[in-house]
């Protein structure tokens, strides 16, 4: 025979447990659902073993389970990341992979065309010293973006790319005679490569924002 107040007693216990679990900010909804389902299943199993249950039997079952705050506390302390939640590792999307590939190809292309310009045109048409300093600067932008994962570095790369593109457009339309195709194309590719690498690094390695845990 079912205990006269079994339904209310069990429902009240589960509602209190639900409230206690809600207070655990680090708990995911699936973890909460599983914890509640396990406790409910336990109560049903225990009741199933009784031939003729009373309200006192139900209360004893819940006593042995522990109070809702005790159960919630054990849920909290059983989480491996109870103190320092770690952001889930994000798999790179096709767009991000394409971005990384584009950055690598642009860098390879830029470097190859610069070496080609040095070999084919010697140093008569441009100044290696100023070019090398710019090259070193761009290398810094790219490595900074990738290694230190700084969005700000990616922004600097984008600005540099804008300057390089603007400079080339100016030459193209206003001073076509001063435009050295291989040299300037290489510069644009290097700068854009650095910028793309920065954006890719930011997308692939977003900063881990610690969540509050109780």
């Amino acid at each position: 025979m079912t205990a006269p107040h079994a339904k209310q007693i069990v429902a009240g216990y589960l509602a209190r447990l639900d409230q206690e679990l809600d207070s655990l900010s680090a708990l995911t909804s699936s973890e909460k659902s599983e914890a509640l389902a396990q406790i409910e299943s336990h109560v049903n199993e225990a009741r199933g073993a009784l031939t003729d249950e009373t309200d006192a039997d139900i209360l004893n079952i819940l006593d042995r389970l522990g109070s809702p705050d005790e159960v919630a506390d054990s849920v909290r302390s059983s989480r491996p990341d109870a103190s320092i939640p770690v952001a889930p590792k994000k798999a790179p999307t096709t767009f991000e992979r394409t971005l990384v590939m584009a950055a690598i190809l642009m860098w390879a292309g830029g470097l190859a065309s610069l070496i080609g310009a040095l070999v084919l045109f010697s140093t008569s048409d441009f100044e290696p010293a100023s070019f090398l300093s710019l090259f070193a600067g761009i290398c810094g932008v790219m490595s900074g973006a990738v290694v230190f994962k700084r969005p700000a570095v990616a922004v600097v790369g984008v600005l540099l790319a804008a300057v390089a593109v603007g400079r080339n457009l100016t030459y193209w339309y206003l001073l076509p005679s001063n435009f050295n195709t291989i040299d300037d194309a290489a510069l644009v590719m290097l700068v854009l490569g650095g910028a793309l690498a920065g954006v890719a690094a930011t997308l692939l390695h977003p900063g881990q924002v610690p969540k509050r845990s109780s």
């Binding site: 973890e31 299943s41 336990h42 049903n44 522990g66 054990s74 059983s78």
Partner: protein, 99 residues
């Protein structure tokens, strides 16, 4: 210690949560409150020490059965060794070398 007792219970055969809670709680007095066994099982599953699967029950709704993984077996074997050493050391102190 309770975690390794759970692993030991699962060594011969898979068991479901209520069964484990009964053995450790009511029968074994290793759990103060039976409800703590479920978060423990969830953590052990996350750690890869056990796996779980739903199985039909003859007397009611399906039950989640837990089974030892190879990693769980290794952890249990390592703990058994440590426990024996620890117990001997405590016996020497408590019983004055009469263990």
């Amino acid at each position: 210690v309770v975690e390794y007792c759970v692993l030991s219970l699962l060594e011969p055969e898979p068991r479901y949560g209520f069964e484990i809670a009964q053995i450790l709680g009511t029968d074994g007095r290793l759990l103060l409150t039976e409800g703590t066994v479920y978060p423990l099982l969830a953590r052990m599953r996350t750690a890869g020490l056990v796996t779980s699967e739903w199985r039909e029950s003859k007397s009611g709704p399906p039950r989640r059965y837990y089974e030892l993984t190879a990693s769980g077996r290794r952890a249990l074997a390592a703990f058994r060794e440590e426990w024996i050493q620890f117990r001997r050391a405590v016996d020497v102190v408590l019983l004055g070398g009469k263990a």
